[in-house]
């Protein structure tokens, strides 16, 4: 089977090189034969890469340990779901997955646009195939997943997947990010095609505008899932730590967000042409750059899973892309001139431009913080680190400024804002902000906040309150927009409020989808504001001892040990009492996989409500269970971060939802009912993480207790009382794990 995969990779590389030549000729001459051939060469590359992917998947599922990749990242005991995770769990596989996604989106773009953008398409194909060819070269010569063993070395068992990665979120997080990065190729290809043809009309903007939402969506999903994973698995109570690899995925997100906004200006007013092309190129290069710093091990981080020696390959690829695209950019510099100029600094255009500057400053800050330690080390030999406080110091004010602009940009008028515009649009939101936010903060503080017993310092409190006020302001602008839209529709069509809302979202997808995305950001900022009241505490508890954190009283009631085929599980029981009433039992624990006894993973138990999360991690314990140390976090409003993420995805989906025309292009013509059903399913899918989150939080599914069902009889109480017949030493010694396996 594996020779098929090997063959497919070589075929893909060969055909992509041929395709580059074909599309070049097609672009230069406009010859229909070459256009057709290059189009099908793009499909062929996709076919060949999917063939290779299918072959690798087959090898993983059938446990073919003659492949080094399979032996390194899977073992027989892994369930199918994690076997799929192993596909992108390692270096070579994730690279193959990236190429698969890049070619998939290339094929889709080529198919959907088979009759449009005729001048661009050959060049688009050429650029996409160049990217694919570059990556395929890295795959073939740098790290090939079909690398086999020489006969003698063939192991009979695999190493297995890192237990930290064996959670559903981690199976989904890498493909989401990889998909985001891979699909960035398409809008980039359109920008480069515009550069090559010298056609800077709205055509490339239209195409790029549609396609850039896809990478943006997947980058968002990937980052949010990564945050969820870190929050649930790593046990430091947060979801974002300004880790270099997180930053690497965050950078293209920032620039593409900026681009989505500035493309609107070019579309409307024909301004910012150079800026947009430049930003598009920059965004694409940042995706490659992010991969490079992750893969090369240039920067140390929690993501050391994926590093290997293909760094230099990526560097060469990055530099080639950079030189080529920058060269084209400079060459066409003179041809990209603005058709119109900014009329007034108080206008929507100006707001958007300022928003772009802000996004770019954030990119600059993150970039500096990520790269400076390396630069400094190269210069002076002194190793340094940039801590999260530095990032927060810069990013928080920038983020708040961005929120302000988000509100203003929604309601300010085009070209030149007048006093009348101010009266019409600004008064209500500003009044809402001034009235509601102090009231809301006061109510929250008196009813809830004061019980948490936290007194944030002036700076933090100021930021948090500003953030809440801005949240109210932005929400008010969005509500006002919806209200006006609904009112207009109802006047004209005699619709119910519900129908009018739906119709608005259907008829003006981009506008209202965008507003919903903004609303998602509002929720996220609410969560950031809640961090000001976050409590973090390490406690050590003896058996039966209690501690009060905030107004939650927690009692340690002992450990139990459970064993199953894969791991030993240590579970602590911690009932939580609030206001004298038992609220819930938390079961933080530790899982020790027999495959890697050196690396216990935390089973954190979180009770998540919109008001606050109660988060308990078992850090450490006396082997007989008499004393245990816990990390406890009470983090208000963290729930809203996930809710905001889900809302953001929903909004993007509304923007992306195909129109009837584009469905025609795909040769699909579902009925209205079918469309509604598919949309309903999509919405359900979008909200499923939150549902899972809630279920995990409310039931035992999320805590270490979920393993209970399998191994009830194997449970051993670890409580050291005299009646216990079990030898205490059996508890956590490595021998115990040996026995069990």
């Amino acid at each position: 089977m594996n020779w098929i995969g090997m063959f497919a990779i070589y075929l893909a590389l060969y055909v992509s090189l041929v395709g580059i030549a074909l599309s070049f000729v097609a672009g230069r001459t406009g010859s229909r034969r070459f256009v057709l051939a290059s189009r099908f060469s793009a499909y062929t590359v996709f076919g060949a890469v999917s063939l290779a992917s299918a072959a690798l998947l087959h090898a993983l599922v059938t446990h073919d340990f003659s492949l080094q990749y399979v032996a390194s990242f899977s073992d027989q005991t892994m369930p199918l779901f994690y076997l799929m995770g192993a596909f992108w769990g390692g270096q070579a596989g994730s690279l193959l997955f990236w190429i698969f996604k890049a070619t998939l989106f290339t094929a889709l773009a080529v198919y959907i646009n088979r009759n449009s953008y005729q001048d661009f398409m050959p060049w688009v194909i050429m650029v996409c195939l160049t990217v694919a060819a570059g990556l395929l070269i890295i795959l073939t010569f740098g790290s090939n997943p079909f690398e086999a063993y020489t006969v003698i070395d063939d192991p009979t068992v695999g190493k297995g997947l890192n237990p930290l990665l064996q959670t559903p979120k981690m199976v989904l997080h890498p493909p989401a990010l990889l998909t985001g990065m891979a699909s960035m190729t398409i809008p980039f290809a359109f920008a480069v095609a515009a550069l090559i043809t010298g056609n800077f009309s709205n055509a490339w903007v239209e195409a790029a505008r549609k396609w850039i939402l896809i990478p943006w969506l997947f980058l968002s999903i990937g980052n949010i899932l990564g945050g969820m994973w870190a929050y649930e698995e790593l046990g430091w109570g947060g979801y974002w730590a300004w880790d270099p690899v997180e930053n690497a995925a965050f950078l293209p997100w920032l620039t593409s967000t900026a681009l989505i906004h500035s493309l609107m200006i070019q579309e409307r007013r024909g301004m910012l042409k150079r800026w947009n092309v430049g930003l598009m190129i920059g965004t694409f290069l940042l995706t490659i750059f992010g991969t490079y710093i992750t893969r090369s091990g240039l920067i140390e981080s929690v993501h050391s899973f994926a590093q290997s020696d293909i760094g230099p390959f990526f560097l060469v690829f990055l530099l080639t892309m950079m030189v080529l695209s920058t060269g084209l950019f400079v060459w066409r510099w003179k041809d990209m001139f603005a058709e119109q100029r900014l009329d007034s600094p108080i206008s929507r255009e100006a707001t958007f431009i300022f928003n772009n500057w802000l996004f770019l400053s954030m990119t600059g800050v993150v970039m500096f913080g990520t790269m400076w330690p390396k630069i400094k080390e190269a210069l002076t030999g002194q190793e340094i680190a940039m801590g999260p406080p530095w990032f927060d110091k810069w990013m928080v004010p920038l983020g708040l400024l961005l929120m302000l602009l988000m509100g203003i940009g929604t309601i300010i008028s085009w070209r030149r804002a007048s006093w009348k515009n101010f009266q019409n649009n600004f008064i209500v939101p500003i009044a809402a902000m001034l009235l509601i936010s102090p009231a809301l903060i006061a109510v929250y503080w008196n009813l809830r906040g004061v019980h948490l017993g936290v007194n944030p310092d002036g700076m933090e409190a100021g930021y948090a309150m500003t953030s809440v006020a801005l949240c109210i302001f932005v929400t008010a602008t969005i509500v006002q927009e919806f209200y006006r839209g609904i009112r207009a529709r109802r006047k004209m069509h005699k619709e119910s409020i519900f129908t009018a809302t739906i119709e608005l979202c259907i008829k003006q997808k981009r506008r209202y989808g965008g507003f919903i995305v903004h609303l998602g950001m509002v929720f996220c900022f609410l969560a950031f504001a809640g961090n000001a009241l976050k409590i973090e505490k390490d406690v050590s508890l003896r058996l039966g001892e209690s501690v009060t954190i905030g107004d939650f009283t927690m009692t340690y009631e002992g450990l139990t040990e459970r064993n199953d085929r894969e791991k030993t599980l240590i579970v602590a029981k911690v009932p939580v009492v609030q206001n004298g009433k038992l609220r819930f039992n938390l079961h933080p624990g530790k899982a020790i996989f027999h495959a890697s006894p050196q690396m216990p993973t935390s089973e954190i138990d979180i009770r998540s409500t919109p008001l606050e999360d109660v988060y308990v991690a078992l850090v450490n314990y006396e082997p007989n269970g008499s004393v245990a140390a816990f990390k406890v976090f009470i983090s208000p409003f963290t729930w809203w971060f996930w809710f905001g993420g889900v809302t953001l995805v929903l909004g993007t989906l509304i923007c992306l939802w195909p129109t009837r025309d584009s469905l025609d292009k795909l040769r699909l013509s579902p009925t209205a009912l079918g469309r509604a059903a598919v949309f309903g399913a999509a919405v359900g899918l979008v909200f499923s993480p939150l549902i899972v989150w809630t279920v995990e939080s409310e039931t035992s599914w999320g805590s270490s207790l979920r393993f209970d069902k399998i191994t009830l009889e194997a449970n051993t109480p670890l409580v050291p009382n005299s009646t216990s017949t079990l030898p205490v030493e059996k508890a956590i010694s490595p021998d115990a794990t040996q026995d069990a396996s």
Binding site: K159, Q382, W390, W394, K590, S596, V619
Partner: protein
């Protein structure tokens, strides 16, 4: 040919002869050549430059130095009172305090030089004698590190060489 068809022919020809002017109404009529200095761009670059310089200088203040134990001890009093990260191996037999409790004191060493570390929080469970750790914290004037975070570098077997028949758990 009927009248209607003739009419159409005429119209068709007339329409086909239309030039593209009204089609691309907004089409650029070649940018107005800018005269003089482009002040906007200049100011933008200036602002960006100042901002970058500011970030750099701010960053220089915020950076935490990263030493191995021997480097840190060598620096001596120069880094007392500063926030640093120190990397070293936990010395055997120096751990003071029991698992499950808070408040530990231990020594880390590198190249035969050692340093005491005080940590008031719960130690991670991978922490044990002989592992390499990174301690973030402040040095007092005795050269003891008061750590607020301890990271354990765990020897992960999920990196490195693929397994072989002789060594199925390679790099464990």
């Amino acid at each position: 040919m009927t009248d209607a068809q003739k009419d159409y022919e005429v119209r068709r020809q007339r329409l086909a002869s239309l030039d593209d002017e009204d089609l691309y109404d907004d089409a650029p009529k070649r940018a107005p050549e800018r005269t003089g200095t482009n002040w906007g761009l200049l100011i933008g670059i200036l602002v960006a430059f100042v901002a970058i310089a500011f970030i750099v200088f701010d960053g220089l203040e915020a950076e935490t130095y990263f030493f191995s134990v021997d480097q840190a001890v060598e620096k001596g009093e120069g880094i007392y009172g500063k926030h640093v990260r120190v990397k070293g191996v936990v010395e055997t037999g120096t751990i003071d305090g029991t698992a499950g409790e808070l408040g530990h004191r231990f020594k880390i060493s590198e190249q035969g030089v050692s340093m005491s570390v005080v940590y008031a929080k719960a130690l991670p469970d991978t922490f044990q004698e002989g592992v390499e750790v990174v301690a973030h914290g402040r040095l007092d004037d005795q050269g003891t590190l008061h750590a607020d975070e301890i990271l354990v570098k765990c020897p992960s077997r999920y990196e490195g060489q693929p397994p072989t028949a002789l060594d199925p758990q390679a790099s464990l």
